[in-house]
């Protein structure tokens, strides 16, 4: 082999074993490396059928391996020839590591002893291949360590483990997770319980998954999480989530939901589906969060305190809401839950590219709520009729804009994450941002108009409704018997009962209808379908 043809640095090759062993006693001094095999190595497997050949073949070994294996040798610091004088001590120190690294495999059948190893080290320690092999090993180790350190990869393995062993409790809490992709979660929807091995014992096989994601650094949630039909407990406590995807309305088997200690300003309107008759929610923890609070006009008896105590129940007309609602997300309520629409904000109108045109700024990324809207967001008047801003023509239709149509097509494109790089050069400055939101939107699930249930990419209207969501006491007499004061609610309880739910519309025609524009109307009907809109 021609050494000059290799892109390798010159080697400080000292062929004499004595010069490097420094007269140290060697147990088998006579054991010199055998001559290299006279056979020309044709294949890589020709080289070392056993150790003798392995040693002898060392000379050839300089060029063995793939080209990229040799590349880091140039960077090896110990390779330079001026270090050859003291390399024995270096090599001695490095011995353990190399032994561990498995480069010099002392497998059974090899006659390796100390002297030989020493010889090996002294002669070969500064060979680039060798040096690099050890560095390669350490780098491989570091890669493995890094891989283990990625919280998402860990979560993936944990999910796989739970899947394989049929563990229903998936505890991913306190793992510094920052992202959780759909791919990680997707296998869970195929979760099956392991059937019991005891004969004659029958057990349900539908799993009841419990997913704990508490105390992570998640900011958004993947859609697949809500596609898990068997999800019964979901804890997202103490994450950094600022918005819950509307897809949450799909997990009808959910029994416990914990969203406390997040950065939520509002919940999706679709979450009301969890309180419907065919859902099973029992525990609903959402406080504390940065929820928007309704700001009533001063001097009106519409303050939340008004509802304190039994007054709420005795006021006429304030009945259970359970009777109606034709639209999909607000079917009959579960008898265990009570949800009443209390108030709403004015409608915010947005341009076709999503920029605000009119109305309260309900931005999702506001962090410190009190600085931006002290005291909460003003509640719309009882007789407020949403009026679209001027300047876009008079007639309003439900036809999506061409931009919306194009974005919808973009969202179906398999290249969506890369689309922003493919934009032709002179493009509108808002496009990269739009495509970015499109990516995160497809990740967290489709958004549907809460009025006409169309899928949309860019919301054109949005407003917040405050719903009083509370659990109906199953046995009120028992409670009052135990402590009569129990029915007195303090102010915080009342405030916390008011849950802001965001509703979004796909066109300017999708706004709250007239009847719903009366926020103080008691026993408010649930939102009716599109046909109510003028």
């Amino acid at each position: 082999m021609d050494e000059d043809s290799l892109p390798l640095p010159k080697l400080a090759w000292d062929a004499s074993p004595d010069s490097s062993s420094h007269g140290r006693s060697r147990k088998r001094a006579k054991l010199t490396p055998p001559l290299p095999s006279s056979d020309l190595p044709l294949f890589s497997s020709d080289d070392d059928p056993n150790l003798e050949n392995y040693i002898g073949g060392r000379r050839k070994k300089q060029s063995r391996g793939t080209w990229y294996d040799h590349q880091p040798a140039a960077e090896s610091p110990l390779r330079s020839s001026d270090k050859i004088g003291n390399h024995v001590s270096d090599a001695k120190r490095a011995f353990k590591r190399q032994y561990d690294s498995g480069v010099f495999l002392g497998s059974d059948g090899t006659e390796v002893d100390e002297g030989l190893e020493e010889f090996q080290q002294s002669v070969y320690a500064n060979l680039p291949l060798r040096q690099w092999n050890s560095s390669q090993n350490s780098s491989q180790n570091s890669i493995i360590v890094k891989r283990q350190d990625t919280p998402e990869a860990w979560a993936k393995r944990e999910i796989e483990r739970c899947l394989e062993e049929g563990i229903e409790v998936i505890d991913l809490s306190l793992r510094k997770l920052t992202v959780l992709s759909n791919d990680t979660i997707r296998p869970l929807s195929a979760f099956t319980r392991l059937p019991p091995v005891v004969e004659g014992v029958f057990e349900r096989l539908e799993p009841q998954l419990k997913i704990f994601l508490a105390a992570n650094s998640l900011t958004a949630l993947p859609e697949e999480l809500f596609n898990i039909e068997s999800l019964t407990v979901l804890s997202l406590r103490g994450c950094h989530i600022y918005e819950i995807p509307p897809a949450i309305g799909k997990v009808r088997n959910l029994r416990e939901l914990n969203l406390s200690q997040n950065r939520l300003h509002y919940l999706p309107y679709e979450i009301l589906a969890l309180f419907s008759i065919d859902s099973h929610l029992e525990s609903f923890q959402i406080h504390p969060n940065y929820f928007y609070r309704p700001k009533y006009p001063p001097g009106e008896l519409k303050e939340p305190q008004y509802n304190i105590g039994l007054g709420r129940m005795t006021r006429p007309g304030r009945g259970a809401i359970g009777a109606l609602a034709s639209d999909e997300s607000a079917r009959r309520l579960h008898p265990q839950w009570k949800a009443l629409n209390k108030a709403r904000t004015e409608v915010r109108y947005m341009d076709i590219d999503g920029s605000n045109l009119k109305g309260p700024n309900i931005s999702t990324h506001m962090y410190r709520l009190d600085e931006l809207c002290p005291g909460g967001i003003p509640v719309a008047d009882a007789d407020d009729v949403p009026t679209p801003p001027k300047g876009r023509g008079q007639a309003i239709s439900r036809v999506p804009s061409l931009l919306e149509v194009a974005l919808k097509a973009c969202s179906k494109s398999p290249d969506l994450p890369r689309l922003h790089t493919m934009l032709p050069q002179p493009h509108a400055p808002s496009f990269p941002g739009l495509l970015e939101t499109l990516v995160s939107k497809t990740e967290s699930g489709a958004t549907k108009c809460t009025i006409c249930t169309r899928n949309f990419m860019i919301a054109r209207t949005e407003w917040i409704e405050w719903w009083e969501i509370s659990k109906v006491e199953v046995n009120p007499s028992l409670v009052s018997a135990a402590s009569p004061l129990r029915q007195m609610e303090n102010e915080r309880d009342v405030v916390e009962k008011m849950v802001p739910l965001i509703r979004r519309g796909c066109s300017w025609a999708c706004v709250p209808s007239k009847s719903e524009a009366l926020p103080e109307e008691d026993a408010m009907e649930m939102r009716r379908g599109c046909d109510d809109v003028d």
Binding site: A395, P400, L402, L419, L423, C452, W508
Partner: protein
Amino acid sequence: MVSNSNNGMSKYVTLRSSDGFEFVVLREAACRSGAIRRMLDPKSAFREAAASVCTFEEINGIILDKVAEYFYYNHKNRNQEDVPDMDIPPELCLELLMAADFLDSLFTVCSSLHC
């Protein structure tokens, strides 16, 4: 320039693509686009207004075909409650996005204008 209406404006306008394809569409439908509306505004001094022909150097025939289709889709569904989806092949989505930006196509109808 298919027919002339009373006020001297044709009922149809012609949209011409960069590669020479021409689409004759209802003026009312085409005027859903803010850009086309301005181009065809009789009060403006644009050449397009006089000839009722809009030439788009940036938009090729395939895309303009979709744009014309959209105009009719919009026009047809303008008073519908339940608007069907319009299918766009994914490979056209970016170009259509650019065209949408150019045309500033709105879903609101310019009923007050001479369309």
